[in-house]
Structures are given as structure tokens and as C-alpha cells.
């Protein structure tokens, strides 16, 4: 049974697109068939983060409007044969998306894939509400920072009221993904801790992705971090998150500060 997931946050710049690419790739690396859909019409970026920007011919809007057939718009990842991308349009605006059109495309994708990941645009307007509309589960991407947590709270409220599932009286299962977590700053009390965020948002934790150079490097080269630096801390965090999505019980470890510099200094002094 195909699962439709929305990756959402309300606030921009928290890592929705990066996380969609990383989670999609991690699922595909585990043998699942995955399609990631960019809902950010007019400001598409998932293609860029996945390194497929030069292969976009048709997009979601073309399919919704019947200009192109779904197989024409789907782009197969060059590295993982069971990972596909449905890009957003760069020239149209979000009003070109219709509820019925999106419903039809998602129903069609459900017959072809195990996982459908919808990368939501920032904000709470049409693009964002359509991205979450048909979701079975939601991944709320949050940074340990006040404005991000507030916006996540708002999005959680919308998931509980504006989705098809909510309207039918069913639940959209929600998962919290904390990204850009800086263990050192949290330890020094400069950044909201995981416990703070969980207490405030009261949503189960899916994973903690530490702030890392590897994430930026991966998007620089257009390759999901789980592929580009598979053994890095963020890649492992995404891989664990995906295992949890698939129902595995994996212990959650809150990243701790790595005292590399300190270690080096101490070692030098000892020598």
C-alpha cells in the first residue's frame, strides 16, 4: 500500500527540500520505490538539490493540466533506479494547481510507487495546503529556534484540520524532524533543546539531523546527503529516520558535542 508523506514546516529555509531529497534517497537505498514531488510552483528547487535540474522537460503543472502524461514528467534518478522526481513548474504560479488535478496525479502515483513524498513550499497558502491535502503522514521539519517552532505549531494545526484525512475524521500521523541541531549550542543553553521542542509541539520525534557541512556540500553538488556522504552524521540521521518510518524501532540518540579541537589540544599538551 503506497504511503503519501508531506514534508512541511511553515517556515522557509529550515531544510524541507534537503530533507525530502535525503529521505527519498534513503528510502530508495533501502529498496523502496519512491517518487518525490516538488510542490513549490514558481520556486522549484528539489530538482537542483537532486542534481536533475538539466533534465526537467515537463512538470507537475503540465501533468495536472493534461499537457503531458505522468511518465513524460517523471525523472529517474541517475544513481538510484527506484527513485523518481516529479518537478514543479518554474514559470507558472501556484494557482495553476487544482485540488482535483493533484488528487488525480497522486492517485496515479499510488499505483506505481511505495512512497510518495510531497515537498511543501514554505508558508500556509495554496501550495502548502495542496501539498498536505492528500497526505497519510506528515514530516514536520523544525529548527531549534523560536520562529520555526511557532510555525510548526501552526502547520500541525492545519494538518489536523485541512487535510482530506482530517475532514474524514481520520488522523494524519505526524513526525517531527529536527534539523540544523547544534549539540554544543544546545548544551550551553543557547539553543532550544530537543526536550523543549518536544514538550512544546507534543509530536513524536522522527529524527535529529545535526548541523553539518556535509548537508551544504551535498546540495552544492546536487546529490542527496545520504548518497553523497553516506557515513556522515546527517546521512545516518536521515537513514535512521527512514527506518523508523518503515516501522523499525531504533533508539534515538541526541547528538553530543564533539570535542575534536579540545581533544587535539589536550593530546598536544600531553605529547
Amino acid at each position: 500500500m503506497a504511503k503519501v508523506l508531506v514534508v512541511t514546516s511553515g517556515k522557509g529555509g529550515v531544510g524541507k527540500t534537503t530533507s525530502t531529497a535525503a529521505l527519498g534517497a534513503a528510502l530508495a537505498q533501502m529498496g523502496q520505490s519512491v517518487v518525490v514531488i516538488d510542490f513549490d510552483v514558481g520556486l522549484r528547487n528539489l530538482d537542483l538539490v537532486m542534481g536533475a535540474e538539466r533534465r526537467v522537460v515537463f512538470d507537475l503543472i503540465n501533468v495536472v493540466q493534461g499537457v503531458a502524461k505522468l511518465p513524460q514528467a517523471l525523472i529517474r534518478d541517475k544513481r538510484l533506479e527506484n527513485l523518481w522526481l516529479l518537478p514543479a513548474s518554474q514559470t507558472r504560479d501556484k494557482d495553476a494547481l487544482t485540488e482535483e488535478g493533484v488528487e488525480r496525479v497522486i492517485a496515479d502515483l499510488k499505483t506505481k510507487f511505495d512512497w510518495i513524498l510531497c515537498d511543501s513550499p514554505a508558508g500556509i497558502e495554496r501550495g502548502a495546503t495542496l501539498a498536505m491535502r492528500y497526505a497519510d503522514e506528515a514530516i514536520i521539519v523544525t529548527n531549534p529556534e523560536v520562529s520555526s517552532v511557532r510555525d510548526s505549531d501552526r502547520i500541525i494545526g492545519m494538518l489536523d484540520s485541512k487535510t482530506v484525512r482530517a475532514e474524514r475524521g481520520e488522523r494524519v500521523e505526524k513526525h517531527l524532524l529536527v534539523t540544523r541541531y547544534d549539540a554544543g549550542r544546545a548544551a550551553r543553553g543557547e539553543m532550544l533543546s530537543i526536550d523543549d521542542i518536544l514538550e512544546i509541539l507534543a509530536t513524536p520525534l522522527l529524527g535529529i539531523v545535526p548541523e553539518s557541512q556535509d548537508v551544504l556540500r551535498a546540495s552544492n553538488v546536487g546529490c542527496p546527503v545520504t548518497l553523497n556522504a553516506a557515513s556522515s552524521a546527517p546521512a545516518r540521521a536521515y537513514a535512521d529516520a527512514v527506518r523508523r518510518l518503515m516501522g523499525e524501532q531504533i533508539e534515538m540518540t541526541v547528538p553530543v558535542e564533539r570535542k575534536r579541537l579540545m581533544d587535539r589540544l589536550l593530546r598536544r599538551r600531553a605529547a
Binding site: E145, V146, R150, D153, A186, R188, E190, L192, E199, I200
Partner: protein, 93 residues
Amino acid sequence: MMNVMRLFGARAASAPVARERLQILLSHERGRTGAPDLLEMLRSEILSVVSKHIDVDPDKVVVRMDRGKFVSMLEVDIEVPNGVQRSKMVAAT
């Protein structure tokens, strides 16, 4: 001086402040989500039912919701003047 304090970590941690501010803010925002519409709907429906039978001043119908941790209190306050007129709508039928 500031630098010295910083060196010794005397700067107060800001995360607890962030946490407290968020908790206060969100408790207000969550209470408000959907609530204004609900209260306004209740108010207008109560007003229409009551004024079928009694003449009341629409401004004197107050509907309030107090949210508690475990239960919430819906308070309906309708001021009825003495020597109240039965509504003409009812009188006519």
C-alpha cells in the same frame, strides 16, 4: 569586562527564555485557532433562539470560552431588561 564574563560563561543561557516565550505565545494562539468563528457562531445562534421569545439587546449577549487545562468553561451571559417584552415574532403567531 563583557569579554571576561563571556570567557567564564557568565552569560545567561537564552534557551529557557525562548522556551517560556513560546509556551506562552502558543497557548494563546492555539486557543484562538478556530475559536473566534465558533464563539461568533454560538453567539449569533443563541441570540436568534432567545430573541424568538424575548426582546434582547444584541450587544448584551456575551459568549465567552475559558480554556482550562482539563476542561473549558463556556459562559453565556444575556442581559434581559426588567418588564421584558415578549418578542413580536412569537406574539404574532
